[in-house]
């Protein structure tokens, strides 16, 4: 699996490259700003690009713009956006078109190596990854007449993993239950929240986020 990295902190960039190299990824290129990344992609296309949201020269939204651009120009390339802050507004912006092949994680997650590598692989394969902090923030607030109260604790766990972009198999592995059990939980959750069942695991990420946001 081939990967390109755009990250302006040398320390992190090299750390990431080493981590991914050790895990068997082929690091096609690494660079410090969005312009270099564009040049890099004019050559060979990797399976996934890992891009820091805050890149030179202005350290504002260069990374995000590069990510949106790459998604539009090369739908087959997954884009995983890393940031020191995770914002719902940006998640919605990134996922707005389609959650397929899109990830948005806190930089902190890099050191949860197995989870992080799983997220990179998922995004490279066209799946999605949404930082769990977004889902937990949305779940933590009080509501009157809260449909979430009808969920069992187990269903809540499944909902959180689902909203973070995990596949049914991923959830099954994580919770050490059968795939069949996960499917049952998922359809029960969708029923209780009144959400239409959706085939794609990526599309349901957006549906759940939209539901939680309101």
């Amino acid at each position: 699996m081939q990967v390109a990295i755009a990250e302006d902190s040398v320390l992190l960039r090299e750390g990431l490259a080493r981590l991914l190299g050790d895990a068997g990824f082929d690091v096609l290129g690494r660079c410090g700003d969005a312009e270099e990344l564009r040049t890099l992609l004019r050559g060979r296309l990797p399976d996934v690009v890992i891009v820091d949201i805050r890149l030179p020269p202005t350290h504002s939204d260069e990374g995000l713009r590069a990510a949106v651009e790459i998604r539009a120009a090369h739908p087959e390339v997954g884009v995983l956006v890393l940031s020191q802050y995770v914002e719902l507004g940006l998640a919605m912006k990134l996922l707005a078109e389609s959650a397929e092949g899109v990830g948005y994680l806190l930089k902190d997650r890099i050191s949860d190596v197995p989870d992080f590598l799983a997220a990179v692989r998922r995004v490279a394969a066209g799946g999605s990854a949404v930082d769990p902090i977004i889902v937990s923030t949305l779940l933590s607030r009080r509501r009157s007449d809260d449909p979430l109260e009808r969920l069992t604790p187990r269903e809540r766990e499944v909902l959180e993993l689902m909203a973070a972009g995990n596949s049914n198999q991923g959830i099954a592995d994580r919770l050490v239950i059968t795939l069949r059990a996960v499917e049952k939980y998922v359809s029960s959750i969708f029923g209780k929240l009144g959400l239409p069942a959706t085939g794609s695991e990526s599309r349901r990420v957006l549906a759940v986020l939209m539901f939680l946001r309101t």
Partner: protein
Amino acid sequence: MPTLSARPAVRVRRSVLLGGLAGLVLAAAAGGCLTLAAAGGIPAIHAALIVWMATSYSAAGLIAWRRRPANRFGPLMLLTGVATFATALWWADVVALRTVGQLCDLLPTVLILHLFLAFPTGRLTSRLERLLVGLGYVAAVGVQPVAIMLGSLGPDHPLLLIDAPEVGLALFDGELIVISVVSLAGVAQLVARRRAAGRPLRRSLGLLIDSFGLGLAMIAVMLVVGVFGGPSFPVVQRVSITVIGFAPIAFLAGLLGARLARTAVGDLVVELRAEPDDLRAPLARALGDPSLAVLYWLPQFASWTDQDGKPRELPTDPARATTLIERDGAPVAALIHDAALNDERELLDAVSAAAAIALETGRLQAELRAHVDELRGSRARVIAAGQQERQRLERNLHDGAQQRLIALSLDLAMLEASLDGDPAARTRLSQARDEIATSLAELRDVARGLHPAVLSAHGLDVALESLAARASVPVRLTVRLDGRLAEAVEVAAYYVVSESLANIGKHARATAATVSVAQADGQIVVEVRDNGRGGADTEGGSGLRGLADRVEALDGRLRVWTSSGSGTRVKAELPCR
């Protein structure tokens, strides 16, 4: 008291005496002319019109001279009247007198041009005007004797040198044409001057300049008709003389207007008693000058300002004059008015005296406003400097400590993976990573508290979406903006929402909130409402006070409505230019 009242009485008696004398002289001149006309067989109506014109210019000239002795306009006008009387000598039987009348024939027309162009100072100001008037005098005074010497008035004339009547008459026609051309040029000059004024003319001034223009046009028409002859000449001449004779009346009306204006000082005093906010309008009315401007001198700022305390310069335009109002030798205010008002010194003095106290109050108000502006400016600068500093700190955290901790955590993770056995060491490493994760979460909160990086990078809508997501109650958010705003406005709007949502979480016991941001009429309106128990602390809380500071520093307004049971509503209006 007796001595005080005696002096004006003497003055009145003297001016009555002088006036009477002048009237007698004028009456004698008029009577003389009419007698000459009757004896010479001149049509009575023609004679009456000439006398009318001569008398009106002489009388108006005398009055103007008396009222404004320093101004040359009055004497010039009197001279015009006298020259007109002199033309009537043509009707005399005595050859010498008649010759004087003939030599003066065209002089009044040029004097009138001179007079009108020299208004209001009595002096010609531009080179073009001097050229026009000079050409006129050459034709009327220089060429006329030559034409007569060549026989323009017949072969029997005592001044005749060479009998060449064709040449003489051609010269005379030439004089008429030159004078009518310079008169028309004079009309153009008056029109141009009126245009150039570019601001409302004082009352009666516009009328006066129009009557001057009309008079000059009539002179041109009369002379042209004279050149080409025709039976209509006497009619045109009479109409023209009548019209030209009205110009001094219009001028006198202006003078009288100035006199009447002094009664306006009385009205001014009454108006000022009501302590109006705007002193300019009543002063402009009293002075009859709609273009009036009032400036105040603020010694602390060493600057002239308008009534709002905004710095202004005294004008340098020569058409504008400045009258200083002083108190104890120090300037208080300045009236900027039409330069023509300088001729009405007494009116200016009366108005200045009547308004002195009101102007002093106006000055204090202007000073207060200037101070408020200054404070507002410095508050905005203090807040902007604080914001910049926070932004710098957030950036340092982001690029420094946060980045290093993440890299460190990654190193530890890889170290942990490379340690095969030794579960104790792995556990310790894992704990260390958990510690780092907690530190990072705390640092993230600190950084966000310092400055919401997402706001400067991605705009208000994205930043508010995240605020709403983190709120303790569900928030219905509507943001309607046309693109990005000035950073200070975005930051203020962000803090209004963030502080209000935080208050809702802490005190309101609400179950829902709405946040709306809309842009209309050059301002951003931010509104946060909740359905809680209300009773928010609008005075004691430093949070709301700090918000109000931020909003007001941007010339905006923050209002809070709160009543127990019906929730709290916070509304901020922020100008965005």
